[in-house]
């Protein structure tokens, strides 16, 4: 009998973490490989989950495969702990991982599963970031064929990506990639850091925590290990820039709730007057207010 047809020791869906033992083993092995080869996309047999593809099945499989009853889990979607998809994912993970605590405060979390944001508060050793990834491959914007992209990665050939960046600079005076900005990891593989804004990308550079990326639909795992160089692709004379949030006078917008001027902001358009600006990271905003809003 091949290992894939062994009978697992527990009934499906009833054991801690929902996934069967073979899935857990495969995902953990895949993550170890991903950490050992920073930035390399490890193919894996992604499982269908009871939530739809595109809603975070990749991140969720990682969380379920690494979570222990002692973990404290934070789930964010677009910087919010209580947007509908974050609630839905947290509910499923909590139901399939009894004893695991769910939290919203960043420093209390041991695992942070996220879509599109990295928390503003600096991460500390002992935490793990888990990203939900729609497109695992930074070359996808210049090459549709996965077979060809894999060959490019193997050869370290990112020429077409560099040409795209160069052409952007010539045409727009700026690289026209606002999020999913490509970055080179440990001097070798270029990754798609998932659709985090440019603002968040520097947070991955020499970060004290492992960053684990799961693309469920595209069936890939990859990772940035702790204390690893993550360098955005840029030219010497056209440096990488993050979002600036300047008003028309060139002044930095502040959060109109907590007053912060060092966070990624949401713009809320208002009729007939200037937009309202507010911290995107809901927990950071509440923390700045001393959690006096009851959060």
């Amino acid at each position: 009998m091949t290992p894939t047809s062994d009978v697992p020791q527990t009934n499906p869906g009833t054991q801690f973490g929902f996934l069967d033992d073979f899935a857990v083993r495969e995902i953990r092995r895949g993550l170890l490989k991903a950490l050992a080869i920073p930035g390399y996309q490890v193919p894996y047999a992604s499982r269908e989950m009871p939530i739809a593809r595109g809603f975070g099945t990749g991140g969720m499989q990682i969380t379920l495969a690494i979570a222990t009853p002692e973990d404290r889990l934070k789930v964010i979607d677009q910087g919010a702990d209580d947007s509908v998809n974050a609630v839905s994912l947290r509910r499923f993970i909590a139901a399939s991982c009894p004893a695991l605590l769910t939290v919203t405060r960043t420093p209390e979390a041991t695992i942070i599963q996220t879509r599109h944001r990295v928390p503003e508060r600096p991460l500390v050793a002992g935490q793990i970031m888990v990203y939900q990834v729609p497109y695992p491959d930074p070359l996808q914007i210049v090459e549709p064929s996965e077979a060809k992209r894999r060959a490019s990665h193997a050869h370290g050939d990112y020429a077409r990506l560099w040409v795209k960046l160069y052409e952007d600079v010539v045409r727009f005076r700026e690289v026209a990639i606002s999020n999913r900005y490509p970055a080179r990891v440990a001097g070798r593989y270029v990754i798609d850091p998932s659709p985090i804004p440019r603002w968040d990308l520097p947070k991955l550079h020499r970060s004290p925590v492992p960053h684990l990326f799961g693309a469920g639909r595209e069936k890939k795992l990859y990772a940035v290990p702790p204390f690893t160089n993550v360098v955005p692709l840029a030219f010497d004379d056209v440096p990488f820039e993050v979002e600036r949030f300047r008003d028309v006078a060139g002044k930095r917008n502040r959060c109109q709730r907590c007053g912060a001027d060092d966070t990624f902001l949401d713009e809320i358009p208002l009729t007939g007057q200037a937009s309202r600006w507010q911290c995107n990271d809901q927990d950071r905003c509440s923390e700045n207010l001393g959690y006096s809003d009851g959060a």
Partner: protein, 366 residues
């Protein structure tokens, strides 16, 4: 702020689920409402082609659960297949069934368009092919007695046992078929990562779980000129195949049950260009769970198109295994399409900043 309302998520989700169930019970319909709840057995038998489609795309042969999924999904075939597949996802794998030949099928239908008569005979069986698509108004308010009588109209309709030879076996014996090369082991695509180039067994596994409309679209491109394939249906058969599992003690194959399947072999002629040897007949194979003829034929055409791509280089989209395999899965496509309903205001904010910055630089002449 709508659906990202702070601390409103939990309650909103609960209400959305309740609202869905109200509609399931016909809650907003004026008049007599939704009638009696649909019984799973009624769905299973009276919507058999939908059940079959859902089983095929869900990748699990369980008519009762497929019927439940259809009921639960309020008739959406993609949702129903998704429920079935999510259930299947971490079911234990008890063993591998032995490969076996479609010639041992207990047939309900078998046709060939390649020959006027075939060994064993053409057998039309249940088919909509020659049905005039006119309303049967008598079904609008069907008499239960007449309905029960209809079930008995042809005694023993289902199936004919017996070993009917495959039409292509005759061509193979004559040496006209292209050599398919050495047999390749089956690939469990739910347990082995997909990588390219992808072996034929893995392609076929993706196609057989593919969304019927997706597989059909790919195949249709080859029929309309994006790849010139003039296929002939060598054989299309629908019937029951035994499931053979290794006996736990002896390892000998034992029949554990049977499944309804549709199988199709298409043949295409190949002229034998310069340096290509004598003309041969090329084969394409399609097979899926349940009774789903369009899918089996379309799948056979996709298989053939991809094999042509292997042989002489990809010239058309449907000949590219990556293009076909990565896009025919309905559950993945539907999930990703739906995900665009999730909030994307962070990435959009980032886009806005990028565009404003670029516009300012261009205006400033920097």
């Amino acid at each position: 702020m709508g659906y990202v309302a702070v601390r409103g998520g939990e309650a909103a989700i609960a209400e959305a689920i309740r609202a869905l169930d109200v509609l399931r019970a016909g809650g907003t319909e004026p008049g007599p409402g939704a009638g009696d709840p649909l019984q799973v057995d009624a769905i299973r038998h009276q919507l058999r082609l939908l059940v079959d489609r859902v089983m095929g795309e869900g990748g699990l042969y369980d008519p009762r659960l497929a019927a439940l999924a259809i009921k639960q999904a309020q008739g959406d075939p993609l949702e129903a297949a998704f429920i079935l597949r999510a259930h299947r996802s971490n079911l234990p794998r008890l063993g591998e069934s032995a490969p076996h030949r479609g010639s041992s099928m207990r047939l309900i239908r078998r046709i060939s368009s390649a020959f006027k008569e075939i060994p064993g005979g053409q057998r039309l069986g249940p088919s909509t092919d020659y049905l005039q698509r006119l309303f049967r108004l008598d079904l609008l308010d069907e008499d239960p007695a007449a309905f029960r009588a209809a079930a008995q109209a042809i005694p023993g309709v289902p199936a004919t046992a017996g070993n009917f030879p495959k039409v292509v076996d005759g061509l193979r014996a004559e040496g006209l078929l292209q050599d398919a090369g050495p047999a390749q082991p089956a690939v469990d695509i739910t347990r082995a990562p997909v990588t390219f180039p992808i072996p034929r067994p893995a392609r076929l596994a993706h196609l057989t779980r593919g969304e019927t409309g997706g597989v059909l679209t790919m195949a249709y491109t080859t029929m309309r000129g994006y790849g010139y394939l003039h296929p002939t249906v060598a054989e299309l058969r629908v019937g029951y195949l035994p499931v053979l599992l290794p006996h736990p003690l002896t390892g000998e194959p034992v029949e554990a049950g049977e499944v309804l399947v549709t199988e199709c072999e298409i043949v295409a002629t190949h002229g034998g260009g310069p340096g290509e040897g004598p003309p041969r007949i090329l084969l394409g194979y399609g097979g899926c769970l349940g009774h789903n003829e369009v899918k089996a034929i379309a799948m056979a055409m996709c298989d053939r198109a991809m094999l042509s791509g292997d042989e002489r280089g990809v010239r058309h989209p449907a000949e590219d295994p990556e293009f076909v395999v990565c896009h025919v899965d309905g559950i993945e496509a539907m999930g990703f399409c739906s995900h665009y309903k999730l909030p994307h205001y962070v990435t959009f904010q980032s886009d806005l900043e990028n565009i404003r910055s670029s516009a300012a630089k261009l205006q400033g002449g920097a």
